[in-house]
C-alpha cells in the first residue's frame, strides 16, 4: 500500500499509482483474452455491454426522431418495428441484465469479501465468451433482415408469421442465457465459500447481498427463458406445434413461460442497482445504513416473491379471473420490500454528514426516479386500472423509469463511485455533477409525458399515431436529445480521466468496505495479505484507519479547534 507523501494535514496528500497492478501486470492481447482475473473480465464486460448500450441507444434515437410527427417521417413501418424490437433485445438481454452483475459484480464481489478471485475463474472467462457468441448471433440477426417480433417474442407472431431473422436471435438469447447462469453460479459459490476471516453474512456489504439475490434469479429463471425461446425456434424451423394454435399449440402458454423469467428479470436489473445505492448512501452520509438486515432481507424477499407475479402481464389475455386476483395480490406484496428499501435509504440520511459528490447525486436521482417507477407499478398491478393502461405508453414510461431511471442511474452511480478503484484516477467532478443533472432532467422530460400519453390511450409499438398525441411526443423526443448528451458526457470524461484524472490513492471518499483497503488499481491477487474483518458494515465511528483528513474527494476545511 502506498503512503501519502504529505504529512498529517487537512490538505489532500499526493498519491502515486502503485508500481504493479492488475492493469499492467501483463501486456498484450492474449493477456486480456485469456485472463482469468475477475477484474480484467469485468473490463471485458464493460467494453462489450457499452457497445450494446450504444447499439440500443442508436435504435432508441431513431425511434424518438421517427415519432416527432403523427405519420412518422424517418422510417417505414417494417423498419420501425425492427427498431423497437432490436432496441429492446440489445438493451435488455445484452446491456441491462449483464451490466451491474457482470461488470461491477465481477469486479467487486471478490474484493468486497476479501477473496483473491471468484470461485471458478475459468468459468468466469467462459461466461464472457458465451456472452460474446450469443451477442454475435443477435448482431447477425440484426444485420440480416433484422427482428420485428417485439422483445417479448409473442407467439404465434414470432413462431409463424414474422418474416424477419427470428431464429438466429432466439438462438443468440438462448446461448447468452448460459452466461448469466454461470455468472450466478460463480457468485453464489464465491459468496458462500470465499469470505475472508471475520466477514460474516451480516457484515457483507449490501451490494453483495443484492448480487446474491440476483444470482438466485439467474440460476432459477434463466433456464426457463432459454428453453422457451428454443421452443420458438423449433416451432419456426420444424413446425412443431408448441404455441401455434393451428398445430394444436397454445399461444398463451408461451406468455406464461416467457414472463416466468422475464418478470424476475426486471429484478435482475433493479436489485444490483439497489445494491449500489445501498453502498453509496452510507458512504456519503458517513454513517451506518439504517436497517441493514431489513435491506438485506428485502433483496431476498424481492427475489423470491418476484417469481410469483409473472401473470400480471397477462390480465387481459382471457386468463382465469381467480388467477388474475392471485397475481394482482402477489404483485402488491412484492412492492413492499422495495418500499422498505426506499424508507431505509431516506432514514439513513437523517443526521448524516452528507456530501454532494457525484455518486451521491446519482443515488439521489435514483431514489427520485425509482420512486416514480415503483409507484406507477401500483397502477399496473391494479386489476381495474390495468384494463385501461395495459399495453399503452403508461407501461413504456413505467418500465423505463425502473430500468433506465433505476438500473442505469444505479449503474452509472456505481461506475463513478468505483472509478477510482477501477482506474486509480478520479473523474472530473464538476463535469460529472453537471452530466448527472442533465441525465436526471433529460430522463424526466423524455418519459414523464409518456405516462400522460398512456392514460390518454396511445398504444405502445405504434409507428404512427393520431395527431392529438403529437405535443407530448415532441416533448419526449426533445427530452431524449438531452438524455443522449447526459450519456455521451460521462463516456468522454471517463476516458479522459484515464490519463489526466487525479491519482486518488486507495480510499478517496473514504468508504468502509474491504475493496477500499487495497491499492487503486488493485494488484492482480487483490490483497497481498488476506484481510481480517473486525468491524461492522458502514461503521465510521471505530475506523481511524479511514484517515478522514487525508481524503481526496470533496475537500472541506479542517474542523475548527476543539470541535468533535
Amino acid at each position: 500500500m502506498d503512503t501519502p507523501t504529505s504529512t498529517h494535514t487537512a490538505t489532500a496528500p499526493v498519491y502515486k499509482i502503485p508500481g504493479e497492478h492488475y492493469l499492467n501486470s501483463s501486456y498484450g492481447i492474449r493477456s486480456w483474452l485469456l485472463t482469468t482475473d475477475h477484474k480484467r473480465i469485468a473490463l471485458l464486460y464493460l467494453f462489450s455491454v457499452t457497445f450494446f448500450f450504444f447499439v440500443g441507444g442508436i435504435f432508441a434515437t431513431m425511434i424518438r426522431i421517427h415519432l416527432m410527427t403523427p405519420q412518422g417521417f424517418l422510417v417505414t413501418p417494417e423498419t420501425y418495428n425492427k427498431l423497437f424490437t432490436m432496441h429492446g433485445v440489445a438493451m435488455i438481454f445484452f446491456f441491462l441484465i449483464p451490466s451491474i452483475p457482470a461488470v461491477l459484480g465481477n469486479f467487486l464481489v471478490p474484493l468486497m469479501i476479501g477473496a483473491k478471485d471468484l470461485a471458478f475463474p475459468k468459468i468466469n472467462l467462459l461466461s464472457w465468451y458465451i456472452y460474446v457468441i450469443g451477442g454475435c448471433f443477435v448482431l447477425y440477426s440484426f444485420s440480416t433482415g433484422g427482428l420485428d417480433t417485439g422483445w417479448t417474442f409473442y407467439t404465434p407472431l414470432s413462431s409463424v408469421y414474422s418474416n424477419s431473422a427470428v431464429t438466429p436471435a432466439v438462438l443468440g438469447i438462448f446461448i447468452n442465457g448460459f452466461s448469466s447462469i454461470l455468472t450466478g453460479l460463480n457468485f453464489v459459490v464465491t459468496i458462500h465459500t470465499m469470505r475472508a476471516p471475520g466477514m460474516t453474512w451480516f457484515r457483507l456489504p449490501l451490494f453483495v447481498w443484492a448480487q446474491y439475490a440476483t444470482s438466485i434469479i439467474f440460476i432459477l429463471g434463466t433456464p426457463v427463458i432459454a428453453i422457451t425461446l428454443l421452443l420458438v425456434g423449433l416451432e419456426r424451423m420444424f413446425h412443431l406445434g408448441f404455441f401455434n394454435p393451428a398445430l394444436g399449440g397454445d399461444p398463451i402458454l408461451f406468455q406464461h413461460l416467457f414472463w416466468f423469467y422475464s418478470h424476475p428479470a426486471v429484478y435482475i436489473m433493479i436489485l444490483p442497482a439497489m445494491g449500489v445505492i445501498s453502498e453509496i448512501i452510507p458512504t456519503f452520509a458517513r454513517k451506518p445504513i439504517f436497517g441493514y438486515s431489513f435491506i438485506a432481507g428485502s433483496s431476498i424477499a424481492i427475489a423470491v416473491i418476484g417469481f410469483f407475479v409473472w401473470a400480471h402481464h397477462m390480465f387481459l389475455t382471457g386468463e382465469s379471473v381467480y388467477a388474475a386476483l392471485a397475481f394482482s395480490f402477489l404483485s402488491y406484496l412484492v412492492a413492499i420490500p422495495s418500499a422498505v428499501k426506499v424508507f431505509n435509504w431516506t432514514s439513513t440520511l437523517y443526521k448524516g454528514s452528507i456530501s454532494w459528490d457525484t455518486p451521491m447525486l446519482y443515488a439521489l436521482g435514483f431514489i427520485g426516479l425509482f420512486l416514480i417507477g415503483g409507484l406507477t407499478g401500483l397502477f399496473l398491478a391494479c386489476l381495474g386500472l390495468d384494463i385501461h393502461i395495459h399495453d399503452t405508453y403508461f407501461v413504456v414510461a413505467h418500465f423505463h423509469y425502473i430500468m433506465v431511471g433505476g438500473a442505469v442511474m444505479g449503474y452509472l452511480g456505481g461506475i463513478h463511485f468505483w472509478w477510482p478503484k477501477i482506474s486509480g484516477r478520479m473523474y472530473p467532478e464538476f463535469l460529472a455533477r453537471v452530466s448527472a443533472i442533465i441525465l436526471f432532467m433529460g430522463f424526466n422530460l423524455t418519459f414523464f409525458p409518456q405516462f400522460i400519453l398512456g392514460y390518454l390511450g396511445m398504444p405502445r409499438r405504434y409507428h404512427s399515431y393520431p395527431p392529438e398525441f403529437q405535443v407530448l411526443n415532441v416533448m419526449s423526443t426533445a427530452g431524449a436529445s438531452i438524455l443522449a448528451l447526459g450519456y455521451l458526457l460521462p463516456m468522454m470524461y471517463l476516458v479522459w480521466s484515464l490519463k489526466y484524472g487525479t491519482v486518488t490513492g486507495p480510499n478517496p471518499w473514504p468508504a468502509t468496505g474491504l475493496e477500499w483497503k487495497t491499492d487503486s488499481p488493485p494488484p492482480t491477487e487483490n490483497f497481498l495479505v488476506t484481510p481480517e474483518v473486525t468491524w461492522e458494515p458502514y461503521d465510521y465511528e471505530t475506523r481511524p484507519d479511514l484517515e478522514l483528513d487525508h481524503i481526496v474527494a470533496g475537500k472541506l476545511p479542517a474542523p475548527a479547534h476543539g470541535d468533535d
Binding site: S162, P245, G318, F343, N344, H388, D549
Partner: protein, 327 residues
C-alpha cells in the same frame, strides 16, 4: 368538449368514471408518498450537509418500530388498491345477461365486425347508447387486442379461442378503436372507430343497412347441412350425436361426470376439438374441423345453433340407445 391538453380521455362508458376514480385514488396515495419522501430527502441533504472534513454522521442502526410501521402501513394501502381494482375487474369480466352480442374477428391488419342481424362492418362498430354490449372476439392469425380508451376497456383477441368483454356506452359520439397488442407490420394502422348512436338511430341504421349482407343464421343453417353436421346431429335426438335443440345457454352433462355451460367458447371448441369434451352418452366420433372453417363460418354455425335455443329439446332418453354401447 375536450380541453386543449386533456389529461384523461373522454368518459363514454359505464367503466370510464369508475376507472378514473380508481386512478385518482391511487394517484392521491402515490403523490403523498412521492412528495413526502422527496421532501425528506432534499431537507436532509441541506440540513445535514457536511460541515467539515472529518465530520461523520450520528450512528443510528435502525428502529424496529419504524420498520414495522413502514411495512404495515404500505401493506394496508396496497391491499385497499388491490381490493378496489379487483371489484372493477371482476365486474368487467362477468358480462350481465341480456347483452347485445357483436362478433369481432381480428386479422392482420383489420377488424371484421358482425352485428346481430348479420350486418358486417370493417374497422367500424356501430353501437346503441345505454345498452349492455358484449363483444365475442376471435383471431384468424396472431394475438390482437381490442382497445377503446374512451370506454376504458380492452381485451386480447387470441387465436384458438374466444375472449369476450362487455361495456355499456353512455354517450353518443365517435371514439377511437386501437389494436393494443403488437401484431406485426401494420399494427399501428389496425385502428378504427366506434360510433355510439341513440337507440332509435341505431335501430334505424341497422334495419336500413340490413339485407345487404348474408344473415349469419341463414349462412349457418346452410353450412350445417353442407358440412354434413345434420347427418349426425338429428333434431329428434335419434342420431349418433346429440340434438342441438335447446342446447345453447344450458348445462350439458359430460361423459366424465362434469357439466359445462354451452356458450360460444364451448361450441367453438366442440367444432374444432370434438374430443375435448364428450357429451354423456355419446361416443367420440366427430371429426375435427380445425383448419377447415374460417372464423366467420364458425361464427355463423354458432349463430345457427344459438337460434335452436328455443326449439323444444327431444324427450330425455332419446339418445340413450348409444349410451348402452349399441349403435
Amino acid at each position: 368538449m375536450q380541453a386543449q391538453f386533456p389529461l384523461i380521455p373522454e368518459q363514454a362508458s359505464n367503466f370510464a368514471p369508475t376507472v378514473d376514480l380508481l386512478m385518482l385514488f391511487i394517484v392521491a396515495i402515490c403523490l403523498f408518498f412521492a412528495v413526502a419522501i422527496t421532501a425528506a430527502v432534499i431537507y436532509f441533504f441541506f440540513k445535514y450537509e457536511r460541515k467539515h472534513q472529518t465530520e461523520i454522521g450520528v450512528p443510528i442502526h435502525g428502529d424496529t418500530r419504524l420498520e414495522t410501521a413502514w411495512i404495515v402501513v404500505p401493506l394496508v394501502l396496497a391491499m385497499a388498491m388491490f381490493a378496489w381494482g379487483a371489484v372493477v375487474y371482476v365486474d368487467f369480466r362477468h358480462s350481465p345477461g341480456d347483452t347485445l352480442d357483436i362478433y369481432v374477428v381480428g386479422k392482420q391488419w383489420m377488424w371484421k365486425v358482425q352485428q346481430p342481424n348479420g350486418l358486417k362492418e370493417i374497422n367500424e362498430v356501430h353501437l346503441p347508447v345505454d345498452r349492455d354490449v358484449r363483444l365475442i372476439m376471435a383471431s384468424e392469425d396472431v394475438i390482437h387486442d381490442f382497445s377503446v380508451p374512451a370506454f376504458r376497456v380492452k381485451m386480447d383477441v387470441v387465436p384458438g379461442h374466444y375472449n369476450t368483454m362487455w361495456f355499456r356506452p353512455t354517450k353518443a359520439g365517435r371514439y377511437r378503436l386501437y389494436c393494443s397488442q403488437y401484431c406485426g407490420t401494420n399494427h399501428a394502422v389496425m385502428t378504427g372507430w366506434i360510433t355510439v348512436m341513440e337507440q332509435s338511430d341505431y335501430a334505424a341504421w341497422l334495419s336500413g343497412s340490413a339485407g345487404t349482407e348474408a344473415n349469419p343464421l341463414v349462412a349457418g343453417e346452410k353450412l350445417f347441412s353442407e358440412r354434413a353436421c345434420v347427418t349426425c346431429h338429428l333434431s329428434d335426438g335419434k342420431g349418433r350425436a346429440p340434438s342441438l335443440n335447446g342446447v345453447y345457454g344450458g348445462q350439458v352433462p359430460l361423459a366424465d361426470g362434469r357439466t359445462v355451460t354451452a356458450d360460444d367458447a364451448y361450441i367453438r371448441e366442440s367444432i374444432l376439438q370434438p374430443a375435448a369434451k364428450i357429451v354423456a352418452g355419446y361416443q367420440p366420433l366427430m371429426p375435427s374441423f380445425q383448419g377447415q372453417l374460417t372464423e366467420e363460418q364458425i361464427t355463423a354455425l354458432i349463430a345457427y345453433i344459438k337460434s335452436l335455443q328455443n326449439e323444444p329439446p327431444p324427450p330425455t332418453g332419446a339418445g340413450v340407445v348409444t349410451a348402452s354401447g349399441k349403435k
